[in-house]
């Protein structure tokens, strides 16, 4: 399957995406935007970006924010891939994360009562009808309990579950051509739908919050909200209020290099702890889910979507470090199975090997024994972004989509995106060693 260029605009994929655009409105157009950006040449990409900038930026915030649900989620996913989007669209999407157009107070209170049987004022001493943050499937309100504790009350937008189900029905039918061509594996759609539907039941999030709170309690700079189960249901989640400002607000205070490095290292350590000790990662590494305090402490919120990792991260890293694919064909086979899963034929997967070499060059420029140090102090390393983009293109063209690996890559990209914006220098190997020691000390916990 070649790239969709001007001359091939009538290809199955092209038609499929256009059909998707028609049928799905926003969801479709964003998916197609994302897909076309991967596939189009530089010139066409620029054209499309201009059109997108003019027409869609405002619409993203206004309409997606109102729709919530899958479309907003998709917007968030896109906003993590900062480089695929023009600056204007990025700004709108960041607003989506933090200040999506809200349910008005009356609707939020009505939904609260529908779920808990009482109005918020009957339960809390104070309740702010204005929301202070948007959550992916709802919004968050401040409240104070009768015992004086400040809490955050997350209220889900009504009818979100049926909206997701009907969106996915449409998505499945309109992306049928791409499913048949193998570019959008059904497993991937199933995975995304399953994840989103699980997110609509806040009781899962309650379990996740408690699991992460306990599992990451060793990190004294990290705050994870404490759940108040008595005021939580499938559609309302009440938890302790976590102080802290947004990522942008943190950067606006012009933190010292030392504080930035410390913050960057902490973000890496948090991520590594999740990967290695909990074997479960917080799936939304977008800036809106982090809260930063001037003293360097970090809050992590929104545990609606977490992912249990069966992937052996250590083996993956060892593979890159030692370039195992060069050792023997058998070693190359098993490494590619690790990356893309068993279902991908070796002859197709092996086309990625030159890219893997480039990755290894980038990660271990001073040989496999030297520490992995990411230095973004003078700006992001563009080679990294270029290679990531090339890799994505390859994954797409050769249909190497393995949901779990894609998920991990997405989380990695999110983390690197944050580090790039922070302009930090982080010694990854040092963090890895520290977490390894902690992981060895404690046996792995079980995901609830």
């Amino acid at each position: 399957m070649g790239m969709v260029t001007d001359s091939q605009n009538n290809s199955t994929v092209g038609r499929g995406w256009r059909l998707g655009k028609l049928g799905l409105g926003l969801v479709g157009s964003y998916l197609s935007y994302q897909a076309q950006n991967l596939l189009l040449g530089e010139g066409r990409q620029a054209q499309r970006q201009t059109r997108f900038r003019q027409k869609a930026s405002r619409r993203v915030r206004e309409e997606l924010g109102a729709l919530k649900g899958p479309a907003m989620k998709l917007g968030q996913m896109l906003s993590m891939q900062a480089d695929a989007l023009p600056e204007e669209a990025m700004r709108e999407l960041v607003q989506l994360q933090m200040q999506a157009p809200a349910m008005h107070g009356t609707l939020a209170r009505a939904q609260f009562k529908g779920s808990l049987g009482k109005y918020p004022e009957e339960i809390f001493r104070e309740f702010d009808a204005e929301s202070f943050a948007a959550a992916s499937l709802g919004q968050v309100h401040r409240a104070t309990t009768h015992d004086g504790e400040k809490v955050a009350v997350k209220i889900q937008y009504p009818g979100i579950k049926s909206a997701i189900e009907s969106d996915f029905k449409l998505l499945r039918s309109t992306t049928l051509p791409t499913q048949l061509s193998g570019h959008v594996p059904r497993a991937l759609l199933d995975e995304v739908e399953r994840g989103l539907l699980a997110e609509t039941d806040y009781r899962h999030e309650v379990d996740n919050l408690e699991f992460f709170r306990q599992g990451l309690s060793g990190l004294n700079y990290l705050t994870i909200p404490r759940v108040r189960r008595e005021w939580s249901t499938d559609r309302v989640l009440t938890m302790s209020y976590v102080e802290g400002g947004s990522f942008d607000a943190f950067l606006q205070r012009k933190p010292s290099q030392e504080l930035r490095d410390q913050t960057g290292t902490r973000l890496v350590e948090m991520y590594e702890m999740q990967l290695r000790c909990l074997k479960t990662i917080h799936a939304d590494h977008h800036p809106g889910n982090y809260l930063f305090r001037p003293d360097g402490a970090i809050g992590l919120v929104d545990f609606g979507c977490v992912k249990h990792i069966t992937f052996d991260v250590r083996e993956l890293r060892r593979g890159y470090q030692d370039r195992v694919w060069r050792q023997s064909e058998a070693a190359a086979r098993s490494f590619l199975v690790l990356l893309y899963g068993r279902q991908i034929p070796f002859r197709r997967a092996r086309r990625c090997l030159p890219l893997l070499d480039q990755w290894a060059d980038l990660l271990y420029p001073r040989g496999s024994t030297a520490d992995v140090v990411v230095d973004y102090r003078t700006g992001r390393d563009e080679r990294f972004e270029e290679l990531a983009a090339a890799h994505w293109k390859h994954i797409w063209q050769d249909k190497l989509i393995n949901p779990e690996h894609a998920f991990l890559v997405r989380a990695d990209m999110g983390l690197f995106h944050l580090l790039g914006k922070l302009r930090v220098k982080v010694n990854f190997s040092e963090v890895w060693r520290r977490v390894e020691a902690a992981a060895n000390a404690a046996s792995p916990r079980q995901k609830p």
Binding site: H104, T106, G159, R235
Partner: protein, 236 residues
């Protein structure tokens, strides 16, 4: 010509709607005490009837049972309510008056956007009706009979509706004065009245937890409606 402009031609058709609600007459004031007592008895009868409707259903409850529960003679009951339908009408009138009073006392709501105000009006009404859902369902079926006093075309229903339409007209006029929507006139109040009735029908059928489907439908319709009225078409 946009849809927004079309509303103008309805503007002067029902000037009556813009009249302030009638004030209690001098005679009524004079017999204030007697009126109060009468109202008290009516409410006691209604409370007894609602309890029985909840237990036995609207159709199977007899006037005899109602009068017994209310502690009055059956003949006295007929002095107040000729039929069960009159009871239902009285119930709606009371709930409507409470909804309007609740809205007018809510200062936060006075500053809210139009979709939120309209949402609050319907939701407050539904919230008050929620304990009597089965009874409301029965009344809605009965209302489909043209000869019924509950029918929207009956004189009694129209009188009750008028108060409600006047109230909605005032809310819309405020939004017009604030420049939130173009002039929609009486047409807007009528359209909203019909929408309100449709939402109650949907609400009665809604089996989703916490009736959240009704909330979602109500919210989306009102946002879309305001958007359409404001922009005069599908300019997205």
């Amino acid at each position: 010509m946009t849809a927004a402009c079309d509303f103008h031609k309805y503007e002067s058709t029902h000037v009556l709607l813009m009249k302030a609600p009638s004030k209690p007459s001098a005679r009524k004031k004079a017999s204030g005490k007697r009126h109060e007592n009468k109202e008290k008895t009516k409410r006691a009868i209604l409370a007894a009837a609602l309890a029985l409707f909840a237990k036995k259903g609207f159709y199977r409850t007899t006037t005899k049972e109602i009068s017994k529960k209310a502690g009055i003679a059956e003949g006295t009951l007929f002095n107040y309510f000729e039929t069960k339908e009159d009871l239902a009408l009285y119930f709606f009138a009371l709930e409507q008056a409470e909804t309007i009073a609740g809205y007018e006392a809510d200062h936060h709501l006075q500053r809210a956007s139009l979709p939120e105000k309209l949402f609050a009006i319907i939701h407050r009404f539904l919230d008050r009706l929620a304990p009597y859902e089965e009874f409301i369902g029965a009344v809605y079926w009965r209302a489909l009979t043209p000869a019924s006093k509950l029918s929207p075309w009956s004189l009694q229903s129209q009188e009750r509706n008028l108060h409600y339409l006047q109230f909605i007209r005032r809310v819309l006029a405020q939004a017009e004065a604030d420049g939130e929507i173009p002039r929609v006139g009486d047409f807007g109040a009528y359209a909203f009245g019909m929408f309100h009735a449709a939402i109650i029908t949907f609400w009665l059928q809604d089996s989703s937890p916490g009736k959240e489907k009704t909330l979602a439908l109500l919210d989306r319709c009102l946002k879309l409606g305001t958007h359409l009225v404001r922009n005069g078409g599908w300019e997205w």
